[in-house]
Amino acid sequence: MHRDPAELLRAAADGDRSAWDELESRFGPLMWAVARACGLSPSDAADVVQGAWLRLLQHLESIRDPAGVGGWLATTVRREALLLLRRDRPGVFSFEVVDDPDPAAAVLETDDRQLLWKTVSALHEPCRTLLQLVAIDLGSRQTAMRLGLPMGSVGPTRARCLEKLRTLISSQEMAQ
């Protein structure tokens, strides 16, 4: 039986370990993807993902929108990842618990990964190839070589392409 996120949260708060495992199955992969997309190394990403689950454990009963727990987890990971990237000194680190998830995190909740690829394929070059290379984590140097771009223009071009992709995704969502 497929339980919705709000049911899973309630069940986990009541001591149902299988509900927690189901939350992990459903949202663990996207949390990992967010941490890595923020530029964290695998070990820092693992640390941040674990921290987000610890946060959830202490807020099982106080999340404002239980149905949106996926967005809450993704937002928690992103904020913690950005905090980790800013702080390179030793110390004790905490941060405010997320009240409202970032609306942009909703893009992760779509189950239709094929549609995302189709949308990327519909972009003009160099965006189409660039985003395909970004998706497989090819570094800036290799991306520049593959696309015949100067190294310095990969970052700005990537930002423009992501903006185009985001606009297309938004218009698809509006049309639905």
Binding site: E24, G28, V49, L108
Partner: protein
């Protein structure tokens, strides 16, 4: 504010090139074993009394952090050395005879009796995530928010 990371993450998920490692999933599932039913959460607060000119940091490189819940304050002094962390703490007011603290990390929990002046200590903990739980007879447990100790 533009959150490119979410679109990038969606692309990474779609590519399937960097799946979540099994040990990360396992660690996430094991987090549930750290649940403290009925616990109230003590949250970190800024406090002038524990700040020094260099921020909440002692002269010996230790780090000071205060957590407050209704009726209970935890002051923790965290020292990092040789890759391990030591925690010296005080619970105020003294929670009474029979009170215990659990100093928790995802991998290790050390239980300590609280002295009459509210002090407790735990040494040799792994760096990473840390939380302290105070158990008082006849009361719900009070647990500090999880914080990350970076060596």
């Amino acid at each position: 504010m533009i959150n490119d990371e979410y679109v990038l993450a969606a692309l990474r998920l779609a590519a399937g090139n960097d799946p979540i490692p099994a040990h990360v999933s396992t660690a996430a599932r094991e987090v549930y074993g750290l649940r403290v039913p009925r616990a109230r959460t003590a949250t970190p607060v800024e406090c002038a009394a524990i700040r020094t000119s260099s921020g909440p940091r002692g002269d010996d490189g230790s780090h000071l952090v205060r957590f407050v819940s209704s009726g209970l304050t935890f002051d923790l002094e965290v020292t990092v050395g040789d890759g391990l962390i030591d925690v010296a703490g005080q619970v105020v007011p003294y929670p009474g005879e029979g009170a215990l603290v659990d100093v928790k990390t995802p991998h290790l929990t050390l239980t300590r009796r609280i002295a009459h002046n509210g002090h407790f200590a735990a040494t040799g903990l792994p760096p990473g995530w840390l939380s302290v739980v105070c158990h008082r007879p006849g009361h719900a447990p009070v647990q500090t928010r999880w914080v990350r100790i970076r060596p």
